[in-house]
């Protein structure tokens, strides 16, 4: 169950039909407080899902604005419909309609950090590192690995044996890449430094590294 929902119009706070005011407040405390920093300053379009009385609306608005630092833009309204089921379903299947071959819809772990020597990041799914991966660090994913920075460590994609997994980086200078059980290491000596983003994939049983932006 989501408690805050982003739509085209903006953020809504979702309230279940069967909740009374105290329950709603408790729920807000549980769900919003831990991520207060995230929600602070957020502009909420309105509440949705339960018909509120004017008093309830005023009390909730006051709480959300004063305790959690958000602002409620909308006024009191009787129209509190959730997105229709159809609309919800449409959102979830949108990716299927994309006219592309390579669409991955799987769990992703995103890490905003410099991954340093001696550190291991392991995940059942895909891994995105927003930062550099330094020599001596290791990234291991059952899916693919994307490094939005320089990859100098060891990358192991498709660690459960998925040869379709890939490793890409803005600057791909790894000590070693493994995809499934195939291993390739960087050439000895100072490798050639290209500054174009590259991607390592398995082709004909070998790991190949190539730029993925063809025109650069």
């Amino acid at each position: 169950m989501r408690y805050v929902k982003g739509t085209k119009e903006g953020l809504y706070i979702l309230i279940k039909e069967d909740m009374d005011l105290d329950k709603i407040k408790d729920n807000l405390k549980d769900k919003i407080k831990p991520s207060k920093r995230f929600f602070e300053g957020a502009k909420i379009v309105n509440f949705k899902g339960k018909k509120l009385t004017r008093e309830e609306f005023d009390e909730l608005k006051d709480l959300v604005e004063n305790d959690y630092g958000m602002s409620v833009l909308g006024d009191y309204t009787q129209d509190t419909d959730l997105l229709s089921d159809k609309e919800e379903a449409k959102e979830n299947t949108a990716y299927e309609k994309l006219p592309y071959d390579n669409v991955i819809q799987d769990k992703v772990l995103m890490v905003r950090a410099t991954v340093r020597s001696g550190q291991l990041i392991e995940y059942n799914g895909n891994i995105v590192i927003i930062g550099d991966v330094n020599p001596g660090a290791q990234i291991k994913a059952t899916g693919s690995i994307v490094v939005m920075g320089t990859m100098r460590g060891v990358a192991h994609a498709g660690s459960n044996g998925d040869y379709g997994a890939f490793v890409s980086a803005l600057n791909l200078l790894p000590a070693q890449i493994r995809i499934g059980d195939i291993i390739t290491r960087s050439p000895d000596g100072l490798g050639i430094r290209t500054s174009v983003p590259e991607m390592a994939v398995v082709k004909r049983g070998l790991i190949l590294v190539e730029p993925y932006l063809p025109n650069r």
């Binding site: 340093r116 020597s117 550190q119 330094n134």
Partner: protein, 267 residues
Amino acid sequence: MGEVIVITSGKGGVGKTTTTANIGTGFSLEGKSTVLVDADIGLRNLDVVMGLENRIVYDLVDVVDGVCRLRQALIKDKRYSNLYLLPAAQTKDKNAVTPQQMQELTSELAKEFDYVIVDCPAGIEQGFKNAIAGANKAIVVTTPEVSAVRDADRIIGLLEANGLRNPQLVINRLRVDMVKRGDMMNIDDMIDILAIELLGVVPDDEHIIVSTNRGEPAVTNNDSIAGQAYRNIVKRILGEDVPFMNLESDQGFMSKLAKMFGFGKKK
């Protein structure tokens, strides 16, 4: 409440003890009351570098074991009245104290001194854990070598995992002639990999060896270029905006330093 700064590196022999002695003495020259803590139990050096070896009666382990009071173990520097040393034990090993005890000890010292500087042993084991236990700031020392930079990176990761965020970097033993020839690891590359703020670059300088043997830190010697680098580092820690020094008149290097300086500023 004073600040507890740990000087660490991972790799041995890159200049932790030299840096501790020089930064510590530099603080006292700036009028800050300072105590140096030698956490390298079993391989103590700081007393020798400070020229205070012959005055040791009690040591850090004696304090922790309750053999003496903290005050009794502190050795006053021969030149500066606001500078003290807490020596390590030489006959014990790193397991003679616990991180908890080190934390209590350094916080006790921070009540009395502006700066508590802890000289960390090489490695990532017990001695390292002890040395960082009470610190609220860390300075990582490296030399311009791939292996030292690798270890520095490992240490930065461990420091961050232990809540010591934003450590600062001292690059030691830079050889200007080798940089000019392009034979030394590029400073930009080091900063690029380690991604932390540069506090200063200390050139390789024979004054360091002479001063170490004499027990007089180079920072007190106005003719020493390494001493100048350490004076600048101290000023930067104190919040002064000191430009990076002109290590010889190599243009390429100077422009690099200028770049590093830009990097060093908080974004």
